[in-house]
């Protein structure tokens, strides 16, 4: 029996299978964690469609689209990194993990720029919330602040998941460079990939629901 199989498993396949099940169970809790916020968003958008559309118009669709593309590309690089791991190509694995990390940091950089812009425009909910109203135009509905509460909460929790994901990817690079993985054993790479893809899926829903209303 290989050295990487723990004593309570019959073989490597059974060990990998239980890791996959455990990871999906964790992801199910994540689905419900984010799901609660999406549910709140859905009900309040139903109550205040005009305010949500107005708030959405303040977001930069171009930056949002670029960031979605970046995350989709990072999912591809993770998938290809796992492919490299399956073939036992250590260099390919490390290179693609680094690509993923760079893409993840690029996403967070654009996100930070957007946050800074919203701060400048007084669109952060709270006492400083004071959207600019062009002369001759009607003031936005007061519930627009609610839209921005959802925007900041959901994107910040998502960004936190990105930060954790980047940390995990860095750990994988260190492990890979220490020859910890082989074509027979790469479970940590595969499980981290599942997490990364899940965070990508959350953004796939956040993008149209926040940036593309009305």
């Amino acid at each position: 029996m290989s050295a990487h199989v723990a004593h309570h498993f019959d073989d490597a396949t059974q060990q990998a299978h239980s890791a996959t099940l455990g990871m999906w169970l964790f992801l199910a809790t994540e689905v419900l964690f984010f799901g609660g916020m999406f549910l709140g968003y859905a009900q309040y958008r139903y109550l205040y469609p005009h305010a949500f559309a107005e708030g959405s118009h303040h977001l930069d669709v171009v930056l949002g689209t670029i960031n979605t593309g970046i995350l989709l590309a990072s999912s591809l690089s993770v998938a290809m990194a796992i492919h490299g791991a399956q073939l036992g190509h250590r260099k390919t694995l490390i290179r693609l993990l680094v690509v993923t990390i760079v893409l993840g940091i690029a996403f967070l950089g654009i996100k930070a720029y957007e946050y800074w812009h919203k701060y400048q425009e007084h669109l952060v909910p709270g006492r400083r919330f004071d959207p600019h109203v062009p002369a001759g135009e009607a003031a936005p509905p007061p519930e627009m602040e609610l839209f921005f509460s959802f925007y900041f909460t959901m994107t910040a929790v998502h960004a936190l998941h990105m930060v954790i994901g980047i940390g995990v990817m860095i750990a994988l690079v260190v492990m890979a460079s220490r020859h910890r993985f082989s074509a027979e054993y790469y479970t940590p790479v595969e499980m981290s990939g599942l997490y990364w893809h899940f965070v990508d899926i959350v953004w796939v829903f956040l993008f149209p629901l926040l940036y593309l209303v009305g």
Partner: protein, 115 residues
Amino acid sequence: MSEKIVPPKTYYLVFGALLVLLMLTVAAAEIPNAALATTAAVTIAVTKALLIILFFMHVRYSSGVTMVFAAGGFLWLAIMFAFTTSDYLTRGERPFEHEQPPVTATTDTQGEMQP
């Protein structure tokens, strides 16, 4: 590990499809009918999520038990959405009809409030 190795071509095709769907969702935002636009946006997002789950996350090639685990979270999410939404959608008039607000504040006073 005796897991099936997916050919890279599959990953590239899925990535291409995801980018096409991304363009489609940006275009769908121009649909004038709000209900239709939202339906299109959510349908495209679900399609993208399914592509990622089935191919990138290997669920298509996984055992039946893994598929059940993967579907489980979304099933409970659907139940939560169904029950909550059935409440809000059947309350008759929207309780806080604040839409198209009466413009009470004039642009002058708004202008003075600006720093």
